[in-house]
Symmetry: C2
Subunit: 670 residues, 2 copies
Amino acid sequence: TGISSLLANGVYTSAFPLHDVSIYIYDNTPLPLLYEEWASYSVFYKYQPIALIRKYYGEKVGLYFAWLGVYTQMLIPAAIVGVIVFLYGCATVDDNIPSMEICDPRNNITMCPLCDRVCGYWKLATACGTARASHLFDNPATVFFSVFMSLWAVLFMEHWKRRQVRLNYMWGMTDIGEEEEVRCHRCSKPCLKLCSGEKIKLTCTDRLPAYLTTVVTMAFLIAVTFAIVFGVILYRISIKTALHLSDYPAARYNVRAVVKTTAAIINLIVIIILDEIYGAIARWLTRLEVPKTDKSFEERLIFKTFILKFVNAFTPIVYLAFFRGRLVGRPGNYLYVVGSYRMEECAHGGCLMELCIQLCITMLGKQLIQNNLFEVGIPKLKKLLRRRKTESATKQAEELNKTLQRHEKDHILGPFVGLGPEYMEMIIQFGMVTLFVASFPLAPLFALLNNIIEIRLDAKKFVMELRRPIAVRAKDIGIWYKLLRGLSKVAVIVNAFVISFTSDFIPRLVYQYMYSNDGTMHGFINHSLAYFNVSDFQPDKEPNQSHYHGYKVEICRYKDYREPPWSSTPYELSKEFWAVLAARLAFVIVFQNVVMLMSDFVDWLIPGIPKDISLQLHKERVLMVELFMKEEKGKRLALQENRHKDSSSPFLTNQSPSQPRSRPSHGNWF
Amino acid sequence: TGISSLLANGVYTSAFPLHDVSIYIYDNTPLPLLYEEWASYSVFYKYQPIALIRKYYGEKVGLYFAWLGVYTQMLIPAAIVGVIVFLYGCATVDDNIPSMEICDPRNNITMCPLCDRVCGYWKLATACGTARASHLFDNPATVFFSVFMSLWAVLFMEHWKRRQVRLNYMWGMTDIGEEEEVRCHRCSKPCLKLCSGEKIKLTCTDRLPAYLTTVVTMAFLIAVTFAIVFGVILYRISIKTALHLSDYPAARYNVRAVVKTTAAIINLIVIIILDEIYGAIARWLTRLEVPKTDKSFEERLIFKTFILKFVNAFTPIVYLAFFRGRLVGRPGNYLYVVGSYRMEECAHGGCLMELCIQLCITMLGKQLIQNNLFEVGIPKLKKLLRRRKTESATKQAEELNKTLQRHEKDHILGPFVGLGPEYMEMIIQFGMVTLFVASFPLAPLFALLNNIIEIRLDAKKFVMELRRPIAVRAKDIGIWYKLLRGLSKVAVIVNAFVISFTSDFIPRLVYQYMYSNDGTMHGFINHSLAYFNVSDFQPDKEPNQSHYHGYKVEICRYKDYREPPWSSTPYELSKEFWAVLAARLAFVIVFQNVVMLMSDFVDWLIPGIPKDISLQLHKERVLMVELFMKEEKGKRLALQENRHKDSSSPFLTNQSPSQPRSRPSHGNWF
């Protein structure tokens, strides 16, 4: 702990291992082998030189890159199947009866206005584009794809487990136990006494305030995220109304696209900013808790950061997938929030499209901005600043710049802050790929393209921009594996809900098998729209234009399963609603249990340890036992001989048999 | 393999280790210590002497009894909570509004006949007793209890895992790998060549016929089970009709009780007989497959036996829980099977009661008959027969009977056939305790009482009735753990379905919160009964007596959610039906996911390895490394000494630098 306390007291500014000079060739390209074989975009199609990485950076970094490699490799089949599913959607878009019916101008359906007063009635045929587009993501192939992706996740976990065992074997880590070191070198000054030998045992009551702070702060931060997402919703509602008010028809025409895209971008920016803030807060909270060991510190930090970042990244998506368009009430009795904001409705198939746009922008934006700006831009900037500082300080020694000492050169590089952020980014991406894959089958492709760049980007960062990290041994990727496992479990149920509640898959099936006269989808659109008598509008909510294209509107339609105005219980939820709901719920149960069963089956089918490794381990164990036996035999013989030689020696006869001193070469004497 | 081939060729009739004579005291009570401390009913409240059992019978048997002990111990809290839940049901039976309404003679509800023609109309008030009884098992406490039992199952698994680690540590099994021996000694003669050194590699195509046979036979046997259960259903229907036809009012009065009980007993007898047959068939099938190792043989056999016995034991129960009373059609349009058998209906709450009776009889009967008859009676009988045989053969040496040799005495005892049947019995019991606990909260109590006897019974069998088994090492209980784990997973979903579909819990909730006028349960019975106009009966199915107690019946009621005859769509499923169905399915989803989440949480909360053991293991590892270092140092010193003695040796100077023999003391020289 000597160096840590000196560092903490500010005697030294930093301590780090140097990059290996002996294998330098050119001044500016350190580690030519790593550089050529790994940290270069031109080798993107090659496997990474994991053994080399491990040798240079230690097991922990090696495992990260091995994991990233396995993940990227596994994304290839997922991306291919995803693209096929998407293409299937494209190919069948013209055979899709519901969107044909929406686009058919003969189906002259007048829809109820989408906002109070300023919005007018509209023709369903104008939603033709959205309906056609939403078919791309809402077709039976999507159901297949989400089952596929759930199994893919299990296969990925199994594949990684096997790879890990193999790496452990190759790196000779099979017999290494968990090292639990008391956490010290991360201590801030006030807790330094913890490190100076005298271990202070913190009791539960000592820790309680810190835990309480954690829980309260986390709850508050999650509430902040929710509030911001809610704010974006209000923004979207008000902008929509404002644009409807404006007199420019061009503006009106593009209302939806503009609102959707700006809202998604605002969400993205908020996510990126909050991510940074929440990361810092999580670190502060974990430090408050004073965990006992380094491992515990890391796990707690990761867990907190994960929850915050996950909530942050997925709240807008979850809102779009499960709540948007569901809490709207009905014409004549809409739901209002914060005074007079009427909750948003979905156009036909509109929610799924918005979900896709949000997912697309979040994935692309997060990856582009966080990768390019934060991972490349900022380290480069920092390095530049640090170099300038050094330069200005040693202005007079400018000509010496080229002959800078190794430690000076490395000091210019950025410090290594741990693998947490790298893993976190990938886990969030894994979440996007598995959780909402039912609504966006192109997600694996996006992830694959990103990761191919990501690997080389990270490699470049490690080789060129960062000080060499202290090599740390590790048997596995630790808590990240548990998080992945948890995510892939949650993914099953989320996908079940997306398919049955967000998409129109189940209503279509129910219509086809329960209500359709001829067993086809003809008439589905008409069946899924309820009737509303415009005289039932509340007086102050009525649309300003009671006429539409010249004729007075008496009945308008809205997307819901409710009784018509002429029934004995007008606007109540209809029998169809409950039947469809029951079918949706039944689908969730069936989907979840079938996929879980299949996952367990795949898990059971693939042995956790590769056959050749387990054979090898068995052989080694047998060899070891044999060697041990031989040595023991040799020892015993040697002892006998010695006893013959100097049987008078009291030392030899008193030797305790439990601690024999073996001499390996003795065996050869006989 | 010498003895195995001699045994297979019939040179020897059997080979077994002898009971330990040295600790015999009396002639007829072997192993007095084991006998006094273990194999006696008088010590039922004590922990078993596991260390002693392991020492005498080996780890595998030790683990079985340890597991049985842990299971029995864990059943105590489950039984207590189960009894409390049952008592809660008893205490609240008089406050239960639905059963009060059924029993109230003022609610003069005429029900539709329960069978065609011969059955008459009946008053709902006559189902009063059943309704009151079913409240004992169908009340909100049951929901709590099934959540409790799901968590209990997880706790049990975790507790056992920890105990297993502790036992492994205590028995010094921590570092022992899996031993895979090529299966030999169970070979029948035709496959003996497999054992005689020349390993024949069976390819997939060689194995295909055996696998196909297995699949086909298993499917056939399962079909047989289904057919028998179906036969019992038909028996029940026809007996019911026959009893209705008879003129004795006393017979009629007891119709239901008699039919229920006889059917349950028939099912029980069939289960017990088929169990024996299926066990033999599973063994034959596994032998056909020629598994490579003994372990694989055992696992395959267990898996097959498990599936067959499980299907056998649970088919009648599953039928009663999920199908009985659901596939009946409706008055005027009943469902008929095999010609004119009308499927059974349930009286109000009747199905749950029958499920309870079936569970009760199966558990008690299986345990009593299989325990007493098969486990005690038959071994005793066999021993007697074997002794008589020996006696008759050596009639002339009767006076020598008392001085029989040890191996002769042991030969009279039954051979040890493995722990399979013992475990299987317990697993099926575990299934009864966890799978249908929602419908029968007394199951854990029954299991506990049985197991307290079972432990001592098994102990007595091992000490007195069986030849001493060959001691086998084992680290864990193997496939049984996986089966337990699988069962406890299935239990969650089965309980969810029992609560939401078999009991009236959800319909009651839906009524209370959606339809009730005053938020109470008043009117529930009326709401849950549909109307039927007796003029809609098919002509040949009409009841013979169209009058009931003097007045002509025009409308009768039946338990279903269907439209009344005067609606526009008479006898169609009503909106209430779909609403209740949706609620039931939603409950299943919520229940399953909440319980799974809680289970995972409990699983995560309890570390797999007890704290003290992991500390101890860590300490030992450190000690071992130290010892190794010390020994290496000693070796090196000895080598140095040798080198000083004969430094001219060319062998020492040629040492390769890649394998340097480091001398740790060198550092001190500079």
